[in-house]
Symmetry: C2
Protein backbone atom coordinates (compact mmCIF):
# COMPACT_ATOMS: atom_id res chain seq x y z
CA UNK A 1 0.00 0.00 0.00
CA UNK A 2 2.73 2.42 -1.02
CA UNK A 3 1.53 5.70 -2.39
CA UNK A 4 2.01 6.14 -6.10
CA UNK A 5 0.07 9.38 -6.29
CA UNK A 6 0.02 12.18 -3.80
CA UNK A 7 -3.64 13.11 -4.11
CA UNK A 8 -5.09 12.85 -0.63
CA UNK A 9 -8.49 11.22 -0.67
CA UNK A 10 -8.87 11.69 3.07
CA UNK A 11 -8.87 15.45 2.55
CA UNK A 12 -11.16 15.54 -0.45
CA UNK A 13 -14.17 17.42 0.84
CA UNK A 14 -16.97 15.40 -0.78
CA UNK A 15 -15.40 12.22 0.55
CA UNK A 16 -14.61 13.69 3.93
CA UNK A 17 -18.07 15.15 4.33
CA UNK A 18 -19.65 11.84 3.48
CA UNK A 19 -17.49 9.94 5.94
CA UNK A 20 -18.23 12.43 8.70
CA UNK A 21 -21.94 12.44 7.88
CA UNK A 22 -22.14 8.67 7.87
CA UNK A 23 -20.15 8.18 11.01
CA UNK A 24 -21.99 10.87 12.91
CA UNK A 25 -25.41 9.57 11.89
CA UNK A 26 -24.76 5.97 12.77
CA UNK A 27 -25.70 5.85 16.43
CA UNK A 28 -28.69 8.13 15.96
CA UNK A 29 -29.91 6.01 13.06
CA UNK A 30 -29.66 2.97 15.28
CA UNK A 31 -32.04 4.58 17.73
CA UNK A 32 -34.86 5.64 15.44
CA UNK A 33 -34.53 2.37 13.59
CA UNK A 34 -34.53 0.11 16.64
CA UNK A 35 -37.01 2.11 18.65
CA UNK A 36 -39.56 2.94 15.95
CA UNK A 37 -38.54 0.98 12.85
CA UNK A 38 -38.11 4.24 11.00
CA UNK A 39 -36.09 5.06 7.93
CA UNK A 40 -34.04 8.20 7.39
CA UNK A 41 -36.80 10.01 5.54
CA UNK A 42 -39.34 8.98 8.16
CA UNK A 43 -37.67 10.76 11.03
CA UNK A 44 -37.03 13.80 8.92
CA UNK A 45 -40.69 14.09 8.09
CA UNK A 46 -41.58 13.42 11.71
CA UNK A 47 -39.23 16.17 12.84
CA UNK A 48 -40.59 18.67 10.38
CA UNK A 49 -44.11 18.10 11.62
CA UNK A 50 -42.94 18.10 15.22
CA UNK A 51 -41.22 21.40 14.76
CA UNK A 52 -43.59 23.23 12.45
CA UNK A 53 -46.85 21.63 13.46
CA UNK A 54 -48.58 21.37 10.10
CA UNK A 55 -47.10 21.13 6.63
CA UNK A 56 -47.84 19.71 3.23
CA UNK A 57 -45.66 17.05 1.64
CA UNK A 58 -44.37 19.64 -0.77
CA UNK A 59 -43.29 22.03 1.94
CA UNK A 60 -41.40 19.28 3.74
CA UNK A 61 -39.72 18.23 0.53
CA UNK A 62 -38.56 21.74 -0.19
CA UNK A 63 -37.34 22.32 3.32
CA UNK A 64 -35.35 19.11 3.58
CA UNK A 65 -34.53 18.74 -0.11
CA UNK A 66 -36.08 15.33 -0.34
CA UNK A 67 -37.65 14.06 -3.53
CA UNK A 68 -41.42 13.89 -3.54
CA UNK A 69 -41.58 10.14 -4.04
CA UNK A 70 -39.50 9.58 -0.94
CA UNK A 71 -41.74 11.94 1.01
CA UNK A 72 -44.84 10.26 -0.33
CA UNK A 73 -43.63 6.89 0.89
CA UNK A 74 -42.48 8.13 4.26
CA UNK A 75 -45.84 9.82 4.79
CA UNK A 76 -47.59 6.58 3.92
CA UNK A 77 -45.51 4.63 6.43
CA UNK A 78 -46.09 7.21 9.14
CA UNK A 79 -49.82 7.32 8.38
CA UNK A 80 -50.01 3.52 8.50
CA UNK A 81 -48.56 3.61 11.98
CA UNK A 82 -50.96 6.35 13.01
CA UNK A 83 -48.15 8.83 13.59
CA UNK A 84 -49.78 11.47 11.42
CA UNK A 85 -53.10 12.44 9.88
CA UNK A 86 -53.75 13.78 6.40
CA UNK A 87 -56.45 16.31 5.70
CA UNK A 88 -57.23 17.66 2.27
CA UNK A 89 -56.87 21.37 1.70
CA UNK A 90 -60.39 22.49 0.77
CA UNK A 91 -59.25 25.45 -1.28
CA UNK A 92 -56.76 23.34 -3.25
CA UNK A 93 -57.83 19.75 -3.20
CA UNK A 94 -54.57 18.47 -4.67
CA UNK A 95 -52.58 18.97 -1.53
CA UNK A 96 -53.10 17.75 1.97
CA UNK A 97 -52.05 19.01 5.37
CA UNK A 98 -50.09 16.66 7.56
CA UNK A 99 -50.17 16.75 11.33
CA UNK A 100 -48.82 14.50 14.02
CA UNK A 101 -51.18 12.42 16.09
CA UNK A 102 -50.54 12.19 19.85
CA UNK A 103 -48.58 9.01 19.16
CA UNK A 104 -46.55 10.88 16.56
CA UNK A 105 -45.94 13.73 18.97
CA UNK A 106 -44.75 11.32 21.60
CA UNK A 107 -42.33 9.71 19.18
CA UNK A 108 -41.13 13.13 18.11
CA UNK A 109 -40.55 14.34 21.65
CA UNK A 110 -38.66 11.18 22.45
CA UNK A 111 -36.42 11.39 19.40
CA UNK A 112 -35.98 15.12 19.70
CA UNK A 113 -34.56 14.70 23.18
CA UNK A 114 -32.23 12.01 21.87
CA UNK A 115 -31.20 14.28 19.01
CA UNK A 116 -30.39 17.14 21.33
CA UNK A 117 -28.14 15.19 23.61
CA UNK A 118 -26.65 13.41 20.64
CA UNK A 119 -25.80 16.72 19.04
CA UNK A 120 -24.19 18.00 22.21
CA UNK A 121 -22.07 14.90 22.38
CA UNK A 122 -20.85 15.48 18.85
CA UNK A 123 -20.23 19.17 19.45
CA UNK A 124 -18.23 18.31 22.54
CA UNK A 125 -15.40 17.30 20.23
CA UNK A 126 -14.80 21.02 19.76
CA UNK A 127 -14.76 24.32 21.53
CA UNK A 128 -17.98 26.34 21.44
CA UNK A 129 -16.53 28.70 18.88
CA UNK A 130 -15.26 25.92 16.66
CA UNK A 131 -18.62 24.17 16.75
CA UNK A 132 -20.42 27.36 15.77
CA UNK A 133 -17.99 27.92 12.94
CA UNK A 134 -18.42 24.33 11.80
CA UNK A 135 -22.19 24.69 11.61
CA UNK A 136 -21.84 27.91 9.72
CA UNK A 137 -19.47 26.37 7.21
CA UNK A 138 -21.70 23.34 6.75
CA UNK A 139 -24.73 25.53 6.19
CA UNK A 140 -22.81 27.39 3.55
CA UNK A 141 -21.69 24.18 1.83
CA UNK A 142 -25.24 22.90 1.99
CA UNK A 143 -26.41 26.03 0.22
CA UNK A 144 -28.56 26.93 3.21
CA UNK A 145 -27.10 30.41 3.40
CA UNK A 146 -24.94 32.61 1.34
Amino acid sequence: MTKTDDFDLRNFLPFLLNQAAEESSLAFQQIYKDRYGMLRTDWRVLFHLGIYGRMTAKEIGESARIHKTKISRAVQRLADRRFLTRTRDETDRRSEHLMLTPAGEAAYRDLQAVAESYDSRLAAHFTTGEAALLRMMLRRLAGMER
Copy 2:
Protein backbone atom coordinates in the same frame (compact mmCIF):
# COMPACT_ATOMS: atom_id res chain seq x y z
CA MET B 1 -45.58 26.77 9.10
CA THR B 2 -45.40 28.38 12.48
CA LYS B 3 -42.91 26.87 14.85
CA THR B 4 -44.41 24.89 17.67
CA ASP B 5 -41.09 23.58 18.92
CA ASP B 6 -37.82 25.40 19.08
CA PHE B 7 -35.55 22.49 18.20
CA ASP B 8 -33.52 23.60 15.20
CA LEU B 9 -33.22 20.85 12.64
CA ARG B 10 -31.05 22.99 10.42
CA ASN B 11 -28.37 23.00 13.11
CA PHE B 12 -28.57 19.33 14.02
CA LEU B 13 -25.15 18.03 13.04
CA PRO B 14 -26.15 14.67 11.52
CA PHE B 15 -28.73 16.45 9.38
CA LEU B 16 -26.46 19.33 8.53
CA LEU B 17 -23.56 17.07 7.65
CA ASN B 18 -25.74 15.02 5.37
CA GLN B 19 -27.08 18.09 3.59
CA ALA B 20 -23.61 19.48 3.10
CA ALA B 21 -22.27 16.12 1.96
CA GLU B 22 -25.07 15.62 -0.50
CA GLU B 23 -24.94 19.10 -1.93
CA SER B 24 -21.17 19.11 -2.23
CA SER B 25 -21.06 15.71 -3.94
CA LEU B 26 -23.70 16.45 -6.50
CA ALA B 27 -21.70 18.04 -9.30
CA PHE B 28 -18.79 15.66 -8.88
CA GLN B 29 -21.15 12.70 -8.97
CA GLN B 30 -22.57 14.01 -12.21
CA ILE B 31 -19.12 13.90 -13.74
CA TYR B 32 -18.05 10.37 -12.89
CA LYS B 33 -21.51 9.16 -13.70
CA ASP B 34 -21.84 10.90 -17.06
CA ARG B 35 -18.25 10.46 -18.12
CA TYR B 36 -17.66 6.86 -17.03
CA GLY B 37 -21.02 5.48 -15.93
CA MET B 38 -19.60 4.93 -12.48
CA LEU B 39 -21.32 4.59 -9.13
CA ARG B 40 -20.15 6.10 -5.87
CA THR B 41 -18.34 2.97 -4.78
CA ASP B 42 -16.73 2.60 -8.20
CA TRP B 43 -14.86 5.87 -8.11
CA ARG B 44 -13.83 5.28 -4.54
CA VAL B 45 -12.27 1.97 -5.43
CA LEU B 46 -10.70 3.53 -8.52
CA PHE B 47 -9.20 6.30 -6.43
CA HIS B 48 -7.80 3.93 -3.87
CA LEU B 49 -6.01 1.97 -6.54
CA GLY B 50 -4.92 5.13 -8.29
CA ILE B 51 -3.44 6.48 -5.11
CA TYR B 52 -2.01 3.36 -3.51
CA GLY B 53 -1.24 1.33 -6.60
CA ARG B 54 -2.16 -2.13 -5.40
CA MET B 55 -4.64 -3.22 -2.76
CA THR B 56 -6.93 -6.07 -1.87
CA ALA B 57 -10.70 -5.64 -1.66
CA LYS B 58 -10.45 -5.95 2.07
CA GLU B 59 -7.89 -3.16 2.40
CA ILE B 60 -10.04 -0.84 0.31
CA GLY B 61 -13.08 -1.68 2.37
CA GLU B 62 -11.30 -0.91 5.60
CA SER B 63 -9.81 2.30 4.33
CA ALA B 64 -13.06 3.69 2.95
CA ARG B 65 -15.42 1.94 5.35
CA ILE B 66 -17.38 0.29 2.62
CA HIS B 67 -19.09 -3.05 3.07
CA LYS B 68 -17.46 -5.99 1.33
CA THR B 69 -20.46 -6.75 -0.87
CA LYS B 70 -20.40 -3.24 -2.24
CA ILE B 71 -16.68 -3.52 -2.90
CA SER B 72 -17.09 -6.91 -4.51
CA ARG B 73 -19.64 -5.60 -6.95
CA ALA B 74 -17.75 -2.42 -7.71
CA VAL B 75 -14.62 -4.47 -8.42
CA GLN B 76 -16.65 -6.66 -10.75
CA ARG B 77 -17.94 -3.65 -12.67
CA LEU B 78 -14.46 -2.13 -12.93
CA ALA B 79 -12.97 -5.46 -14.02
CA ASP B 80 -15.70 -5.89 -16.65
CA ARG B 81 -14.73 -2.55 -18.11
CA ARG B 82 -11.04 -3.50 -18.01
CA PHE B 83 -10.23 -0.75 -15.54
CA LEU B 84 -8.47 -3.13 -13.18
CA THR B 85 -6.90 -6.58 -13.03
CA ARG B 86 -7.17 -9.13 -10.28
CA THR B 87 -4.34 -11.46 -9.35
CA ARG B 88 -4.55 -14.09 -6.66
CA ASP B 89 -2.17 -13.83 -3.75
CA GLU B 90 -0.13 -17.02 -3.96
CA THR B 91 0.65 -17.15 -0.25
CA ASP B 92 -3.01 -16.64 0.69
CA ARG B 93 -5.21 -17.79 -2.12
CA ARG B 94 -8.35 -16.33 -0.60
CA SER B 95 -7.46 -12.77 -1.42
CA GLU B 96 -6.53 -11.08 -4.64
CA HIS B 97 -4.50 -8.02 -5.49
CA LEU B 98 -6.18 -5.34 -7.53
CA MET B 99 -4.34 -3.01 -9.88
CA LEU B 100 -5.44 -0.46 -12.42
CA THR B 101 -4.95 -1.15 -16.10
CA PRO B 102 -3.70 1.69 -18.31
CA ALA B 103 -7.34 2.47 -19.07
CA GLY B 104 -8.08 2.55 -15.37
CA GLU B 105 -5.10 4.80 -14.75
CA ALA B 106 -6.28 7.18 -17.43
CA ALA B 107 -9.74 7.36 -15.91
CA TYR B 108 -8.20 7.91 -12.51
CA ARG B 109 -5.94 10.73 -13.68
CA ASP B 110 -8.83 12.39 -15.39
CA LEU B 111 -11.12 12.20 -12.38
CA GLN B 112 -8.36 13.05 -9.96
CA ALA B 113 -7.77 16.31 -11.78
CA VAL B 114 -11.47 17.04 -11.68
CA ALA B 115 -11.53 16.23 -7.98
CA GLU B 116 -8.69 18.57 -7.23
CA SER B 117 -10.18 21.56 -8.92
CA TYR B 118 -13.57 20.68 -7.54
CA ASP B 119 -12.17 20.62 -4.04
CA SER B 120 -10.51 23.98 -4.50
CA ARG B 121 -13.77 25.44 -5.66
CA LEU B 122 -15.48 24.18 -2.52
CA ALA B 123 -12.68 25.36 -0.26
CA ALA B 124 -12.88 28.79 -1.86
CA HIS B 125 -15.99 29.39 0.20
CA PHE B 126 -13.63 29.90 3.14
CA THR B 127 -10.33 31.35 4.14
CA THR B 128 -7.34 29.02 4.05
CA GLY B 129 -7.35 28.71 7.81
CA GLU B 130 -11.07 28.01 8.00
CA ALA B 131 -10.82 25.34 5.34
CA ALA B 132 -7.98 23.63 7.18
CA LEU B 133 -9.95 23.75 10.39
CA LEU B 134 -13.01 22.36 8.63
CA ARG B 135 -11.07 19.38 7.29
CA MET B 136 -9.62 18.74 10.69
CA MET B 137 -13.02 18.83 12.35
CA LEU B 138 -14.51 16.56 9.72
CA ARG B 139 -11.69 14.07 10.10
CA ARG B 140 -12.32 14.02 13.79
CA LEU B 141 -16.06 13.50 13.34
CA ALA B 142 -15.35 10.77 10.83
CA GLY B 143 -13.21 9.02 13.40
CA MET B 144 -10.21 9.34 11.15
CA GLU B 145 -8.09 10.87 13.89
CA ARG B 146 -8.31 11.34 17.56
